[in-house]
């Protein structure tokens, strides 16, 4: 069917009720802030549908469950695949006091046993995921597939509820620590502070370590040339040509069956997961093989643990005796919270997204058979309402005109910039001061929108950002927008990017410094930068715009200053 048939179908029709309308939404909420951490590049229409509704409701659910004193989560709107958030700020002092009293009660079990609660929720999530996995998509009836679609929506909604319970408790703990240690002369940017939270293992690092071990095994089996010289897809084929190769591939596939439910891109359905396309995981192995496997995170961690204990001991010496016990408990909690902020991505976003991609492609294949769409991944350019309409009698319907139109729009806009805020206020700073900070929402303040950089004219820097991990680095810039480009990064370069996610973590062992356009001091980029001890600047807004690959730059992360040394 020709596109013109229904020419008025636009990309943003994909998320009815959640489309951003400046004229209506801005007067209602005053300021909508761009979520540059999670929606660059722009989201597909299907992902916008899922994320746009389940994510804000999840934040509201957790805010209500925990009785967050100053905020009832956020409202979220989608503008052509970019997401914008506005905070539900509570103004009434009495209500805040009442909520604070309940909040206290709700927090105690998390402080007492954060790991235990998180284990319970992990089990619940894995139960939901196992249920999704149990459906054989090819043998399923159309009814099964429709129910599977509903199960995916339900799973996804629950995932965000759990996600935010953990996020609010852990992020509140980290924010409290920053405030409390300030009394003893430590700032969040200081090495003494950051040393206290380094050296914690988590599932992301464990998987990275297993990957590094597979790389070492490949080198030992004499397969290093194969990994160095061939494209990832070819590596897989050529592994079948030798006994050592077949053995390695078999072991690796067993590993992927367990750990391969992991998206390459965290916040969308449009790129494959490891188990679906093992070559994506192979490229990580290739990075380890060709750049050397000498970056040993375990060794770094041992050193970090030593430094951590030293830093904590030194701090506690400055603390009055009566306060030591709870401060020690708080620092322990902070460490767990830091680990959670890494690990939850794996069990929440990366895992659920992989399973939903699997389901949407399964549905897509069935719709292709019926002639409703042309390609299985056309489903990513529809929304569940549209799929629901056709699923039980797909042969009667054509949806190409919607999918093609939206795909074209999405491809055209994908990397286009979008304003950091839509607001009635005078500027971004005023909007942040009036419509964001009063929410007290640690997730949006310290992770999504991030702290605003301070311009320090005396430093004469070209770009200013916020210190994510302290230190100074100088080197060639490498500007990267997507995971597929990551293999271009050479050892010793400085990574310049919109932001990072757990799939990018191994690259921190390769680069000298990191510059991210967006993200706060508790964002993935900042936390991993600290764990790898790589000087890292976040929230500099215009890094990928002003810096070009090949430029020599100097990153003074401690000062939040970036210097372009040569063009």
């Amino acid at each position: 069917m020709k596109e013109e048939t229904k020419g008025n179908v636009k990309l943003w029709d994909a998320v009815p009720g959640y489309d951003f309308d400046e004229k209506i939404d801005v007067p209602e909420m005053r300021s909508y802030f761009h979520d540059g951490v999670h929606s660059v590049p722009r989201l597909t229409p299907m992902y916008s549908w899922f994320y746009g509704r389940a994510n804000p409701v999840g934040s509201q659910y957790a805010s209500e469950t925990l009785s967050i004193p100053t905020c009832k989560g956020w409202s979220q709107k989608i503008k052509d695949g970019s997401t914008y958030v506005a905070m539900h700020i509570i103004q009434d002092k009495e209500e805040i006091d009442k909520r604070a009293a309940k909040f206290k009660e709700a927090l105690v079990p998390w402080i007492d046993d954060f790991d235990g609660l998180w284990e319970g929720y992990k089990k619940e999530l894995i139960g939901l995921y196992d249920h999704l996995k149990s459906l054989d998509l090819e043998k399923a009836t159309n009814i099964d597939l429709l129910h599977h679609l509903w199960d995916m929506i339900r799973t996804y909604r629950r995932m965000w509820e759990i996600h935010f319970l953990g996020m609010y408790t852990s992020m509140s703990a980290l924010a409290l620590i920053e405030e409390q240690v300030a009394r003893f002369g430590l700032t969040a940017e200081s090495p003494e502070f950051q040393n206290m939270f380094r050296g914690f293992d988590n599932k992301v690092f464990q998987v990275d370590k297993q990957m590094s071990e597979f790389a070492q095994a490949a080198v030992r089996s004499g397969l290093s040339d194969l990994f160095k010289n061939d494209k990832a897809e070819d590596v897989l084929l050529k592994l079948d040509e030798s006994d050592a190769g077949r053995k390695w591939k078999k072991d690796f596939h067993e590993f992927l069956k367990v750990e391969g439910w992991r998206m390459v891109r965290m916040m969308d359905f449009n790129e494959p997961y490891w188990l679906e396309e093992p070559s994506t995981a192979i490229s990580v192995i290739q990075t380890f093989v060709s750049k050397g496997t000498d970056f040993n995170l375990d060794e770094v961690r041992l050193k970090s643990i030593e430094e951590r204990e030293k830093a904590i001991t030194e701090l506690l010496q400055k603390v009055p005796e009566g306060e030591r016990e709870w401060l020690r408990a708080l620092i322990n909690l902070g460490g767990k919270a830091g680990s959670y902020s890494e690990e939850h991505d794996l069990y929440c976003e990366l895992y659920s997204h992989a399973l939903i991609r699997r389901g949407l492609l399964g549905i897509g294949r069935r719709l292709v058979q019926a002639g409703t769409i042309d390609k299985p991944d056309d489903t990513l350019f529809l929304n569940p309402d549209e799929i629901e309409q056709v699923m039980l009698a797909p042969e009667f319907h054509k949806l190409q005109y919607i999918a093609n139109r939206r795909r074209a729009d999405w491809e055209r806009l994908r990397f286009k910039e979008t304003p950091p805020v839509f607001t009635e206020r005078a500027d971004m700073n005023e909007a942040v001061g009036k419509d964001l900070i009063p929410s007290g929402d640690v997730i949006i303040i310290k992770l999504v929108v991030g702290e605003m950089p301070k311009v320090k004219p005396e430093l004469k820097a070209d770009i200013y950002g916020v210190c994510g991990a302290p230190g100074v680095a100088e080197g060639k810039a490498r500007v990267i927008f997507t995971y597929e480009q990551l293999h271009e990064v050479l050892p010793g370069e400085i990574l310049v990017c919109p932001g990072t996610n757990p799939a990018w973590t191994p690259i921190f062992g390769v680069v000298k410094g990191v510059v991210a356009d967006r993200g706060g001091t508790l964002s993935h980029t900042a936390i991993v930068g600290r764990e790898y001890q790589v000087p890292t600047i976040v929230n500099c807004f215009e890094g990928t715009e002003k810096i070009k690959t090949g430029m020599k730059i100097r990153v003074d992360a401690t000062q939040g200053a970036i210097y372009i040394l040569s063009k």
Binding site: A101, I111, D112, A173, L330, S439, G440
Partner: protein, 346 residues
């Protein structure tokens, strides 16, 4: 204790005298002994009440009235009101025994001499052996011996307020019970008064001292009816952790012949009624009282406007603090508390 001695100065007493002078007086003595600055005054032991009702014939009247009245179990408030009127009357209408009157007068005169004031203003407070908050009468701003003797009888007879009778009947105690001693401390010419808790009475947080304050006399805070000033002082550092000035529209102030609720002048309603150094001094004394008594305390204080800081802070009462929610004082609770408080700053 000397057997012939009828009346005692507070600083001659201690908690071991509870049964002789009643709890309030013994407590004031104990406070003075600890070094707390309590208003000067004297204690009229319970034996004097017994002597009074015996020798005036009031006791017989009361006993026979109660006997005649018969079973009062499950009776309504009207019954207790009727009883109260008769029983109180039996005490109030009797003349003070001259021997007792003279003895009390000699102590009152001595108090006037000690404080350098003619007809010094005192409060007249009940002091039974058991703590029965709010059951009995208190008279404020009592001046002159005649008035004092009158009010002492009234405090005695307040053992028969309807609420006190009802309480005893419901608890199965004899109607005749609760014999009262009387405390007669000099009135503090209070600019401001209040309470200091060494533990938060609501959530049990023991890291801070909570101070509530209002203009005028302590009754303007204790009754809990008005918006008051609220201070929190860190127990470790003795620094003011938080300060909230209440909108103090009403307070209890002296009247010609007593004290009563009155409007606070408009200009000072929203101004804190005590200054920071007074707040810290109050907290310091409260902290040391808690340490000496080895338990959290609920204390009443008043700031005398005729005296200079820090001698101007007087302590009227201290008792073990009651906490609404018994707090498990764990690190987790403390952290949760701090996390919740963080949000108040936004």
């Amino acid at each position: 204790m000397h057997s012939k001695k009828l009346i005692f100065w507070f600083d001659e007493l201690g908690k071991e005298h509870n049964d002789i002078v009643g709890k309030k007086c013994a407590n004031l003595g104990e406070m003075a002994r600890m070094g707390l600055s309590v208003p000067p005054g004297f204690a009229i032991p319970i034996d004097i009440y017994r002597k009074f009702i015996k020798e005036t014939g009031a006791e017989d009247e009361i006993s026979s009235y109660i006997k005649e009245f018969g079973d009062t179990k499950g009776a309504g408030i009207q019954v207790f009101e009727e009883m109260s009127e008769n029983l109180r009357g039996a005490i109030d209408e009797k003349e003070m025994l001259p021997s007792l009157g003279e003895c009390i007068a000699s102590y009152y005169t001595e108090l006037c001499n000690r404080t350098g004031k003619e007809n010094v203003a005192v409060s007249v407070r009940s002091s039974g052996t058991e703590s029965r908050p709010g059951m009995f009468e208190t008279y404020l701003n009592v001046c002159g011996i005649e008035e004092l003797l009158e009010k002492i009888k009234k405090v005695w007879s307040s053992t028969f307020t309807p609420r006190a009778i009802a309480f005893r009947v419901n608890k199965g105690l004899p109607v005749l019970g609760d014999e009262l001693g009387v405390a007669v401390p000099k009135m503090v010419n209070a600019r401001a008064s209040g309470i200091a808790f060494t533990v938060n009475p609501i959530d049990g947080d023991s890291s801070k001292i909570t101070i509530e304050a209002n203009w005028g006399l302590g009754e303007g805070v204790v009754s809990g009816a008005e918006s008051v000033d609220l201070f929190e002082v860190d127990k470790n550092t003795l620094e003011i952790a938080s300060k909230h000035a209440g909108n103090k529209r009403r307070g209890v102030f002296y009247t010609e012949t007593g004290a009563d609720w009155a409007d606070v002048p408009a200009g000072i309603q929203c101004i804190p009624c005590i200054i920071d150094e007074e707040v810290i001094e109050i907290a310091k004394v409260a902290k040391s009282a808690e340490e000496i008594l080895e338990s959290p305390q609920d204390m009443e204080w008043a700031i005398d406007q005729d005296t200079d800081f820090p001698q101007n802070i007087f302590w009227l009462q201290t008792r073990p603090a009651k906490v609404a929610i018994k707090k498990v004082d764990s690190a987790a609770n403390h952290i949760a508390d701090l996390m919740a408080k963080k949000f108040r700053g936004f």
